[in-house]
């Protein structure tokens, strides 16, 4: 059953990924010089996307540990590999701190001077504290996720059950720490782009998009590896079915949270709150609002409803790619309106950071996959996971 071969990227594939990532990085650097007001928000977007994939990977692994779930053990190396993007995106996030003046209105003394709201928020929204918080979030995430990965990989060598037991505790801590820090991080990095606006559900909304996109990406990588035979016969349609169910559920969860945020603001109709939606309900932004809901919810919801669709490799792959595109649109929709008042436009400055982010993500994930066994070969739950054939 475990007649697997370890993963290897072919040299041309690796080099082309490297070349495209490099080109994206160069173009982004050029953009920071030539068009900083457009490039900084897009760099923030691309890095948030990259980081959300890495965090979603850790979260997926942590959830398997705390829920004592066995079904996903055969595919666990995929979300584990995704977390290599976490230190990279952490470093980029710290570089993005140099863009604070271009990104955040609250960092301009002249803006604060004329706004009572910004004066009241200055205790939280000020550059030094913002930098400290950013470093703290990233440090905590990297520390906890590297512990989880270390125990999981150490188990490949000695097969000790202690690694599983330790990882249960570390995973539980990660989930609690992540819930608080990610809520604050999404408020700091994204919500404070429009510092007069606030939404208490914003953290949950970002989490729902993060996890939906991470599930879709895990599924894409699993399907690509499966098609090339790296999993042998170990990953069956039953595993795809389970991933499909999670995507279906979290897509609906995303819509539920999206609407929960919208309806409270729409109903109360308070000027400083509705501004977020009025900016996004005219012209091209309205189109993007509709496409956002379509890609993140309606298409996955309708297509993945029947059981056979979740078990169909080709269909699941296509839906996951739509969701991956949808998460870019979702972040675009959250981050860019204050910088593009005339409607969404896509040029080199939008595409370059995102291209570097996506290609860099696959480069890192595939590199990490090649370094370790493609199955957690001595995990006590591996047998249960292999027996998933219903």
């Amino acid at each position: 059953m475990l007649s697997h071969r370890s993963f290897r990227m072919t040299a041309p594939f690796r080099q082309s990924l490297l070349a495209v990532t490099g080109a994206g990085v160069v173009a982004t650097c050029a953009g920071i010089v030539l068009s900083p007001d457009r490039t900084w928000p897009n760099l923030l977007l691309a890095n948030t996307y990259l980081m959300s994939l890495a965090l979603g990977g850790v979260l997926f692994v942590a959830l398997q540990y705390v829920s004592h779930a066995g079904w996903a053990t055969v595919i666990r190396r995929v979300p584990e590999a995704m977390t290599l993007a976490l230190p990279v995106s952490g470093v980029v996030m710290i570089l993005i701190l140099f863009g604070i003046p271009s990104l955040y209105e609250w960092s301009h003394p002249s803006a604060v001077e004329h706004s009572h709201v910004l004066q009241a928020k200055a205790g939280w929204l000020n550059a030094p504290f913002f930098v400290i918080r950013t470093v703290a979030y990233i440090g905590l995430w990297i520390a906890l996720s590297s512990l989880i990965l270390r125990y999981s990989r150490a188990q490949d060598l000695d097969g000790s059950i202690d690694h599983t037991l330790r990882n249960r505790r570390v995973s539980a801590s990660f989930i609690v720490v992540f819930a608080f820090t990610f809520t604050l991080a999404s408020m700091d990095w994204i919500m404070s782009l429009q510092p007069h606006w606030y939404s208490t559900i914003f953290g949950v909304y970002n989490f729902s998009g993060l996890f939906l996109n991470a599930l879709a990406t895990i599924t894409v990588v699993v399907i690509l590896l499966r098609r090339r035979g790296y999993f042998g016969t170990a990953v069956t349609e039953a595993h795809l079915h389970d991933l499909g169910k999670l995507i279906f559920a979290f897509s609906t969860f995303w819509m539920y949270i999206w609407f929960s945020q919208y309806i409270l603001i729409w109903y109360a109709n308070i000027p400083e709150e509705v501004r977020f939606y009025t900016m996004r309900s005219g012209g091209g932004w309205l189109t993007l609002t509709i496409v956002n809901v379509l890609f993140n919810w309606l298409i996955p919801f309708v297509v993945l409803m029947p059981a056979w669709a979740k078990r169909s490799e080709g269909l699941l792959l296509r839906v996951c790619m739509i969701v991956m595109l949808g998460h870019w649109i979702d972040l675009f929709w959250m981050i860019l309106p204050p910088f593009m008042k005339d409607g969404p436009t896509v040029s080199l400055w939008e595409l370059a950071p995102m291209t570097a982010g996506i290609c860099g993500f696959f480069l890192l994930t595939f590199t990490s996959l090649g370094k370790h066994k493609i199955f957690p070969v001595k995990d006590p739950y591996l047998g249960e996971s292999l027996a998933q054939d219903h």
Partner: protein, 174 residues
Amino acid sequence: MSRRILVNVFGSEEDIVGAAARAREGGYTILDAYTPFAVHGLDVAMGIRPTRLAYVCLAFGLTGAIAKLGFQIWTSAWDWPVNVGGKPLVSIPAFVPVTFEVMVLFAGVGTVLAFLLRSRLFPGAAPKATYFRATDDQFVLVLEERDASFDVRNVEALFRPFKLLHLEEQIVRE
């Protein structure tokens, strides 16, 4: 009318899944299986066609959603128009939460009731207990003895790889 059945008792879920597949290959008619918990793969092994409960669920859900949406439009815009904060009388976003909840309620309750009805599990239904430990720790597969050529010894031979704990013939009235 009555019919003869053969009750086969197994000790593990792997055994009953294997035995069910074997019995079907051997051309026997599986009447039903009784297990202490849901056994993955047993439906496939028994050759049961996919459930149609999903369509019942969809129908109930749509009924609930349409009925509740219609009701809200009728009460707040038609029968007694209420102006809430200057919003249009038919403000769909305001109706969505209640419509959603009623849809879920109809779909959930309706599906459970349809399942109970279809499985003949309602007050006054004739009990179908064939072997009591199926509700405790053992797994029961029931075969129909269709004609005189049915031989219990053949079944025993067929199930030899699966650790048959117990086997008894029963006559049930319908």
